[in-house]
Symmetry: D2
Subunit: 319 residues, 4 copies
């Protein structure tokens, strides 16, 4: 389907359910997509960090993207992450995503290697030139260890290379500067890149980002409670900022589940991904809570902690 | 004067004007305090990072604090930064600040040395025990290279060690979690630390922080346009979030002056401090734009750039 | 061929020559391998960071590894890098490398995702269990942004998971502690992991590493002057430390070529890889100096600077 | 006394013994200096990081420096650390050190603030211009969070600003490049800065640094076993590299005491400083093992672990 310009609303990064052998559980993935679409989300981001894209083989990535596209069935646009170290490898993923029918691509700056803004600009331009799909830049320094400079994003927005930004940098001041420079608020962007979409990945401050003029949000914990993010988005769009803040606070409390895994024993990513999947399993959306190797699984106490967070948020576990 | 509990509102970190020899220009400092107090600010933070505290000798620190206290003259409370590497050195500054009449102390985690949360907790407790003044924790990882863990801040808030937090960490998600855990919004904190003040140092997202439940802001560029931050604060308190966002956007544009200094030639701090002082000089508030050694001064082109930002914000240079 | 236990000597990370379209130039790669083997090296490391592994598609990786194996023709062992973000992706590369005939595998800690020592240990154990080839851990924090803890390396050495370590961490103090704990010097390792090989990637301090008990070196600039690293290694083994230091100093001066690229214009990796390839092109070993996208190429001045370094080291350009 | 040019040999950073109230124990400090001088060291570095300089008030710093100078009594030169955030504050310390009779000054790059190489150069030049004592640059990124660029050090060496470098950066490759560029080895420096001294703070790889052409070492654990570092230095100077490596290995094993403190409970600095002081106390050199607030003390198990390391190294505890 054609991507709305700009893309707005709630676009969760879709978790990739796995079976106990570590293979993509397409049945569960279909149910998860249904859970999200019926929750009212405005788009889906397949193969993002929360999708464990960095843990999936090329074959598994294709399987997951195909399953998301099939389940979405044109009801909402599907963005496909094409996350890899450098240009040629990203292009391999981009061509696959295009062939499978993705509506847009999402790429990070190069990683593993040390890079430079001029090279990052060339990277995005080469992807845009090679594969004719709207391209989103994914700013995620915690993963790629470089930050997209605001001036670079503006340049690539204004020359049409980028259709949007998914900002997971956590640099809210820098994002505010970018939004002011891009011009306009509340979907009324008026500068030289009127269709450029700014989506925040900072899922704990969505009210703030929308107040500042962001177009949407890509919330990892939106997998667990998509309807709440839709309510939050709608409240912001209606100018009900107190209502939005209250909904955000409920989601902040729910997000506390990511501390479930003992930090002394597992990586921070593993703890967050494990708790999201445990929650989806407890809610009966997916068949298994497994995360990909080498992530350690949550133990029983951690799962109980996740359950407590669900119950406190009024999301009753069915297991 | 007694510190309000909790401390709320606009509390700018007061720049320390210097004369061409590098000594504290107390006349200019008095005028700056008048500029701030007549701008409507609710408190003053002397000897903060924006005050170039790290550049001032002990004698200069005392001179600056004394001048701020004298000019404030009890109209607003004065918080004194006691910034130094470790406990014993901080205590020296704290005793001086108390003797001079400061209303509260602001201390960072230890720096230069590598430290640990348990040691940081001991540091704040030792300061609170030795000098009987309300104590604010100053979370500024860009300077001290450690982040105050949320759990540590809560513990020190609940046991009465800390009267508040000045959060310059830029971690807005972490701040939101802390605010939710502390309980309540809009000055109605209801948890176990009802008088604990959360002030943000993120001057580009103040509307967002106040929407999230922060009590106030410590804006560096508030030196230049204090009245605008007061208007922004008042709009937030009145629930006029669209008006607040518009005022914030004007301040974001004004803040663009910090890019005036060529990054290839000077430190990022120097560029920001130099532009604030250049602006205050252009506005006729202070007598000289000098910053302390070894910071390089802004060149004429950079000063012209600062002037352009002032004019664009409706603050007409008088020089 | 069977890998010597422990692996010792000079094992350069083989550059991957590209043609102007960005495809692997197998003819040049064959000549480069001949240049290295006739230079006296003791092994070859294909698909390492210096091989631009992060820039090559899976198909290109296979082409490059196949060409190295064919050209080496059993004269020296070939280690294959299996560099990817996490376990399942690494296993795909490992199986390909085994099928092509590699003599050993070289894997890093997971990257892109945040990880934990327990998960890193599981990662290496899973690779070792799935593919029956000697496995080397590649400690390269500048690329993967975590450091392999010494205790972890020891544990995996002693339980037989790892056949060796390629240490590109730059932490020479940590390496020394590891070597002392592993026991022995000068190839006479006597502890619980007598066949464990420690190879340093710190190509500017090889004399020091061998004095400390390392078994060999993986020098990027060894592509340009392999015979010099062999002389350096031989001098160390003969106890001629002054001679070794003199040879090392000559190589340090040659290494100055990596500054040829203007740092303001390109990434640090690009500058180093570009200068190595420019040198190999100037020496007539490879047909084109191209590096992979999105790296910027060296300009003419930078190439002239590379030529000056070659001449100063007595390596006369033929172009 | 006049400083040798260049300064060479073993120059330990002198621990500052404290009494149980946290005050400088000048009696113990005198005994420690005697322990070092009779151990054969070639100089003393008072008020360095290992001296807990960041924990001492100005008055305590003066007391400690005075005590070291008195105990040294002209037998070896005394370098004084003048560690503080920026120029004016460092100058205060430098003038005190000069008045007390220090033979040279040791200063870091500015810290707490963000800085720039041009500003760092100005910082060292201002110190050198204001106080007429030989000036050493102290490169310690782990504390000040910037690395002195090699080109900057060369520039300041060649123009006479700096008398030497104390390199605690851990960047041995960068140090090697600097040594090659400065020219010469084994005390026969022949370039434009023939009297410039390069001292390494990397106490676990001293044999390597001296092989590379460094002039001396500033070893923290040299407080515990100064004679061993003198033997190591002498072996290097005599070209007995195998003997040097063996002595270094013994010291590496002894250094294992720094792991005595549980990392989960205290800062890394605290653990190292605590173990050095515990060792000096066990050996009967100093009266109390206390470290300065807010460092946590070593517990009994950790002290027992320190004792085990001493015994294993043939240094018998007397308590």
């Amino acid at each position: 389907m054609a991507l709305p310009t700009p893309l707005t609303g709630v676009v969760p990064p879709v978790c990739t359910p796995l079976d106990p052998r570590g293979e993509v559980d397409t049945g569960s993935l279909g149910r998860l997509v249904e859970h999200l679409v019926t929750g009212g989300v405005h788009g889906l981001f397949a193969l993002g960090s929360t999708s464990e894209v960095a843990y999936l083989t090329d074959a598994q990535r294709a399987t997951a993207l195909e399953a998301v596209l099939k389940a979405a069935d044109g009801r909402v646009p599907v963005l496909a992450g094409v996350i890899d170290t450098t240009t040629a490898r990203v292009l391999d993923h981009a061509r696959t995503a295009q062939a499978l029918g993705a509506d847009a691509l999402v790429a990070t700056a190069p990683f593993y290697t040390r890079t430079h803004p001029k090279e990052i600009a060339g990277h995005f331009r080469a992807i845009r030139a090679a594969v004719d799909l709207p391209l989103f830049a994914y700013d995620i320094p915690v993963a790629v260890h470089s930050k997209l400079p605001g001036a670079l994003v503006r340049e690539l927005a204004e020359d049409g290379t980028l259709a949007g930004l998914k900002d997971s940098s956590g640099d809210e001041g820098g994002l505010r500067r970018l939004l002011v420079e891009l011009g306009g608020r509340d979907g009324r962007r008026i500068g030289p890149a009127p269709d450029f979409a700014v989506l925040t990945g900072s899922e704990l401050t969505v009210d703030a980002a929308l107040l500042a003029g962001a177009d949407g949000v890509v919330p990892g914990i939106g997998n667990v409670d998509p309807a709440a993010y839709v309510r939050l988005y709608d409240a912001c769009r209606a100018g009900d900022w107190a209502g939005a803040a209250a909904e955000q606070e409920r989601l902040v409390a729910l997000f506390g589940m990511v501390d479930a895994g003992p930090e002394a024993e597992m990586g921070r990513s593993s703890s967050a991904l494990g708790s999201f999947k445990a929650a989806l399993h407890l809610l009966g959306v997916i068949g298994h809570p497994a995360t990909a190797a080498p992530q350690l699984p949550l133990g029983p106490e951690s799962v109980a902690e996740v359950a407590r967070h669900l119950t406190a948020a009024g999301l009753e576990p069915v297991r």
